[in-house]
């Protein structure tokens, strides 16, 4: 499954990782080197860029890039 290019760009920029490393299975913390603050920062940027609101209790469940994609699909965000 290929990752939404805009999402990929945001993650790549925020976490300073090569775009190739960003796949649906990639865990933010274990694979992409994020810490808890990075994840909060990432969530805020996604909210802004995709014009959505991600409640904290939902945000806590977003562990991988795929989790974010599924969440966005469930909210009809592309």
């Amino acid at each position: 499954m290929s990752v939404n290019p805009k999402l990929k760009e945001i993650i790549s920029k925020k976490l300073s990782v090569d775009a190739e490393r960003i796949n649906a299975e990639a865990s933010f913390i274990e694979d992409l080197g994020a810490d808890s603050l990075d994840i909060m920062d990432l969530i805020m940027t996604m909210e802004e860029e995709f014009d959505i609101e991600i409640p904290d209790e939902e945000a806590e469940k977003l562990k991988t890039v795929g989790d974010v994609e599924s969440y966005m699909k469930s909210k009809n965000v592309n």
Binding site: L15, S16, L37, M40, D41, M44, E48
Partner: protein, 427 residues
């Protein structure tokens, strides 16, 4: 003589460890290393120019001493840089340079007894401004999670510790323009008492921002000689009209003499004296007879077991303000008596501007280099000394003389005073 490790359990250690400087570094408006900065100082080159970090159109003051050509890429990843305010980046780069200069790596067995104190006068003012605008314009949910970690003053020392695994005492010392000097003084105490064997210590500041310049302008503290920036900082000169804000960082590696000897380290000098007082007089004006400042000098001399005549050079606070420069002159006369006229004194702020929380640290680096090179850097722009500023302030041109003991003065808002004495090492 070093205290034994057991002696930390006694309230009064039997003997105090001697403290020596084994590494130093600086990032200043006149150079991104200590050596470059020193060379430019001795040649009388100014680092003051028009501000580039923000649009000064609406500001009465348009000049500052900004650090030029600062490039942390060889020290910090882009990702880390984004999460660190400029003063923290300065501290990380300078601490690495200072440890390199000391040829010291904090290995696992050294970690616990290595501390880090970094003086910071204000902290992450730029990130505070940015997020203050965010909360007003876009609401609290848009405040960056990195706002607080980037803003807090002690994050400079925190990040340095993370990088070098310095697991000993760690905090920022905040005493406005004396922060850097107080940090060094306090670090000396940790080593003397045997609580640490070495300290990474200094001061860092970077507030050439709208609030920084605007805030000091509101106090009418800054020079507005915008048409001639390099002439704006002119300590003790009749034409002085306020200080020029600077930014940067100075860092020292302090070690117990025993620790330095054990690893056969090169020793720059010994830190022999530290004196700290308060004017207890006014928020921002110094005491009208320089009482607190002269007492701090006297305490530093006493701490070093020296007489006034033993000092040859003072790197003065000398900010280029009307009142401050006069009262420092008075304080020096109070403390040194007849010997005041024999001293060589200079203000390197004439070239770097006033680095606030970093000033005492950067000027300690310069004091140590003055001692090592037997050279007093000049006070630039001192063309026409005020009548009551009548000491030998090394106007315009550097002077060579043999130095054995040098003094660094640092005074800050809140009436706080810190003085340090650096001495040639006697075996």
């Amino acid at each position: 003589m070093a205290v034994t490790s057991e002696s930390i359990f006694y309230r009064t250690p039997v003997a105090q460890a001697r403290v020596v400087v084994t590494g130093l570094s600086a990032i200043t408006p006149v150079g991104t290393t200590a050596q470059k900065s020193w060379n430019n100082l001795v040649e009388g080159k100014s680092g003051i120019d028009l501000i580039t970090q923000f649009d000064t159109s609406d500001f009465t003051c348009k000049i500052a001493g900004e650090v030029q050509d600062f490039n942390p890429d060889n020290y910090l990843s882009k990702k880390d840089q984004r999460k660190m305010e400029r003063f923290i980046q300065f501290a990380l780069v300078a601490s690495e340079d200072a440890l390199k200069d000391a040829n010291l790596e904090i290995t696992e067995e050294l970690e616990e007894k290595t501390g880090c104190l970094i003086g910071v006068g204000l902290g992450g003012l730029q990130i505070i401004e940015t997020n203050a605008n965010v909360v007003v314009d876009r609401g609290p949910s848009r405040i960056s999670p990195f706002f607080i970690p980037m803003a807090i003053a002690n994050m400079a020392a925190g990040q340095v510790a993370i990088k070098h695994k310095a697991r000993g005492p760690n905090y920022s010392v905040t005493s406005a323009c004396a922060s850097g000097a107080h940090a060094i003084g306090e670090a000396v105490s940790y080593i003397r008492r045997g609580l640490c064997d070495r300290m990474i210590v200094g001061g860092a500041e970077s507030v050439v921002t709208k609030l920084g310049i605007g805030g000091f302008s509101a106090m009418r503290a800054l020079s507005t000689r915008n048409d001639d920036p390099q002439k704006a900082s002119r300590p003790w000169d009749e034409g002085r009209d306020g200080f020029v804000l600077g930014e940067g960082c100075g860092m020292l590696v302090l070690e117990s003499y025993e620790s330095a000897k054990r690893r056969d380290a090169r020793i720059y000098c010994e830190v022999t004296g530290y004196g700290a007082t308060c004017d207890a007089f006014h928020m921002t004006n110094p005491h009208e007879e320089g009482r607190g400042a002269s007492k701090a000098i006297e305490l530093a001399l006493e701490d070093a077991s020296l007489k006034p005549e033993d000092i040859q050079y003072i790197n003065a606070h000398g900010t280029s303000t009307k009142v401050g420069d006069e009262l420092e002159t008075q304080a020096i006369k109070n403390a040194f008596g007849d010997h005041a006229k024999e001293l060589l004194i200079s203000s390197t702020k004439s070239m770097t501007g006033h680095l606030l929380g970093a000033a005492g640290a950067v000027e300690s680096v310069f004091s140590i280099l003055a001692l090592k090179n037997n050279t007093a850097p000049p006070t630039l722009n001192l063309e026409n000394p005020s009548f009551n500023c009548d000491l030998n302030y090394t106007p315009l041109i550097a002077k060579k003389r043999n130095f054995k003991h040098v003094l660094n003065n640092s005074f800050g808002f809140g009436g706080t005073n810190a003085c340090l004495i650096f001495s040639e090492l006697e075996n």
